[in-house]
């Protein structure tokens, strides 16, 4: 078989048999300085999901390469795990934070470890994101009017947050900036 044909045939076979990773079809937007927050309210549950380029949090987007970068990752992870430094719902609603779930493949297994883990994504990825998911249980969800986002002050690289809301009053979209830090529900 002619080499060129063989190569194109094997590419076709590869395309046909290998599942295409979802990421291959749906690349996330990645803009430094910009983050997104999704807010969902259902019953007494308030779910807040933050998605941001790691650059906004750390200033770099790779597995930590030295001790100072590792310290930066540890500090950032510790900070994100405390929901009160990220988002604070209306005091009157009596919301209590549940466990926090952090998801940043590029940092897999690195936080608090000296050696990078084996399942880290390929080094040629140019960008990496952090997803932080918070769930609150609210005693008086009807009193849930706003959420104060406390990310801007301590993250000088963060300039804007686009917020999407799905709640009992329908869907909405808002834009937060350093001057406007309240999500209105």
């Amino acid at each position: 078989m002619h080499a060129g044909k063989w190569i194109s045939a094997s590419i076709l076979v590869a395309l046909g048999t290998q599942p295409v990773a979802p990421e291959a079809l749906a690349h996330q937007a990645h803009v430094h300085g910009l983050a997104t927050i999704q807010v969902a309210v259902a019953g007494d549950k308030l779910a807040i999901t933050l998605n941001t380029p790691l650059d906004n949090l750390l200033g770099f987007e790779s597995a930590p390469a030295n001790a100072s970068q590792r310290r930066a990752v540890d500090a950032m992870v510790a900070r994100l795990r405390r929901s009160e430094t990220v988002a604070v719902p209306s005091a009157g609603a009596g919301c209590v934070a549940g466990p926090v779930r952090l998801n940043a493949p590029v940092l897999a297994g690195t936080s608090g470890h000296d050696t990078p883990s084996g399942n880290a994504p390929p080094a040629n990825e140019e960008h990496a994101n952090m997803e932080a998911a918070y769930v609150f249980t609210c005693a008086r969800p009807e009193a849930l009017r706003e959420i104060e986002v406390r990310l801007f002050g301590e993250l000088p690289r963060l300039k804007r947050i686009d917020v999407q809301i799905a709640g009992p009053r329908g869907q909405a979209s808002q834009r937060l900036t350093t001057k406007n830090r309240l999500v209105r529900l």
Partner: protein, 421 residues
């Protein structure tokens, strides 16, 4: 205040009715601009939001979310690509999905859009404050060539139950080709909703397939005609649809569902949260809106400067009139009040005329704006932001008329009785 002053002011103004009439008109037109733009803005937002009130997601082929929303729900802008029928079936199987309604657009009837859908449309479509659709007369479509028409279609064309109509291929008023061989029977007329539903001819998805059976490459195949009664024997499963409306069991699952749909492997799809896409649209047009409001505020300012200029210029002509008033006992403050009152009268008449013009425009252009842009112009009394705009206009008018009032106040009695020649 002397009780005769308002009467005097009115009579004096009547003498100069042409000049002042022009001023009233100029104030009225600034009211029309300022309040009209604000009203159009709020009406557009309300109309758009009300047309998608019960839908959690709108799913279609990968496209700009705002574009898909505008085309699939409002039939505005460029047509988006179709999504495959298998993708629709997969979507309906998603465990988070409570219901789906397929939408198939592309044909028209006398300029009204033809929508191919299923009976689920009548169950799940919501408008306004989550109000379901109501069939005013007749029933849903059951037979292949049944159609249910919106309230505006019925009014504009005078159709009644049992009437036969033919659909046209393509959109708009220019009819390129008729599906004349397969007429539809009107079996239902929907109650008015104030949404694009009113201007829609609803048929079943199978009917959309059936009328295109003997078509190829966008035109009827010459010499081939499949009579309506045989169309049922063909496989009428659609190959693709324009978009699907999706309702979820739990509305807060929308982000997860959206993520799953956007990552669908079989076909690149986009799931649009209608409320979010609309807010994004308003954010995009926000700058244009602010510019328009700024320009109309400038126009209002110009008309008030004109008001001051006209009244000031008129003072020259009225020196004698004012001096006579003074000589018969009017104090300087009476003259001041007279002029201020006149300014206020002009402004108030301008506001009233402006609102009347606006109401007339809304009634006259309502139909056009509704059919062309899908926006319901509501004839109503001013409220909220409009009311504060009107108060600002009246306050500015009063402030502007104080200027000539002050000038007249300062004029000496002798000034008007012995004019220099």
């Amino acid at each position: 205040m002397n009780p005769f002053i308002p009467i005097l002011a009115a009579r004096s103004a009547w003498n100069r009715r042409l000049t002042l009439g022009m001023m009233v008109l100029s104030v009225a037109l600034s009211v029309v601009l300022l309040v009209g733009i604000e009203r159009l803005r709020t009406d557009a937002r309300t109309s758009f939001a009300e047309a998608v009130s019960g839908t959690d997601l709108i799913v279609g082929a990968r496209a700009n979310p705002v574009e898909l929303l505008l085309y699939a729900v409002f039939r505005i802008g460029a047509a988006t690509n179709n999504m495959g029928w298998p993708s629709y079936l997969a979507l309906a199987d998603d465990p988070a999905v409570a219901w789906t309604v397929p939408l198939s657009l592309g044909d028209s009837h006398r300029g009204f859009a033809v929508l191919g859908t299923t009976s689920a449309y009548f169950d799940h479509f919501r408008h306004g404050d989550r109000t379901p659709l109501k069939i005013a007369q007749g029933k849903r479509f059951e037979q292949l060539f049944d159609t249910v028409i919106g309230a505006d279609v019925a009014t504009a064309s005078g159709y009644r139950l049992g009437d036969r109509i033919t659909l046209s291929h393509g959109a708009g008023d220019t009819v390129l080709a008729e599906h004349g061989d397969k007429p539809f029977t009107v079996v239902g007329i929907l109650a008015r909703t104030g949404t694009p539903v009113d201007r829609t001819v609803h048929v079943s998805l199978e009917a959309i397939e059936a009328i295109h059976l003997n078509w190829q490459g966008g035109a009827p195949v010459p010499g081939l005609s499949i009579p309506a009664e045989f169309a049922r024997k063909f496989n009428l499963t659609p190959k693709s649809i324009t978009a699907a409306l999706v309702g979820l069991h739990n509305r807060s699952d929308v982000f997860a569902a959206q993520r799953r749909i956007n990552a669908a492997r079989a076909e690149p799809l986009v799931a649009v949260m209608p409320g979010v896409a609309l807010d994004n649209l308003w954010q995009m047009v926000g700058t244009a809106e602010r510019t328009m409001t700024g320009i109309s505020a400038l126009v209002a300012a110009v008309s008030f400067i004109g008001l001051v200029a006209v009244v000031l210029a008129g003072l020259g002509e009225r020196r004698r009139e004012l001096a006579v008033l003074r000589s018969v006992g009017a104090a300087p403050r009476d003259v001041f009040t007279l002029l201020a009152f006149e300014g206020l009268l002009i402004t108030l008449s301008g506001v009233v005329l402006g609102l009347a013009l606006l109401t007339a425009a809304a009634s006259l252009l309502g139909e056009f704006v509704l059919t062309r842009y899908g926006v319901v112009l509501r004839v109503r009394l001013p409220d909220g932001a409009e009311l504060s705009m009107l108060l600002a206009i009246i306050a500015t008018g009063l402030a502007a008329s104080l200027v000539p009032g002050y000038r007249a106040y300062r004029m000496a009695l002798a000034d008007g009785l012995a004019p220099r020649l």
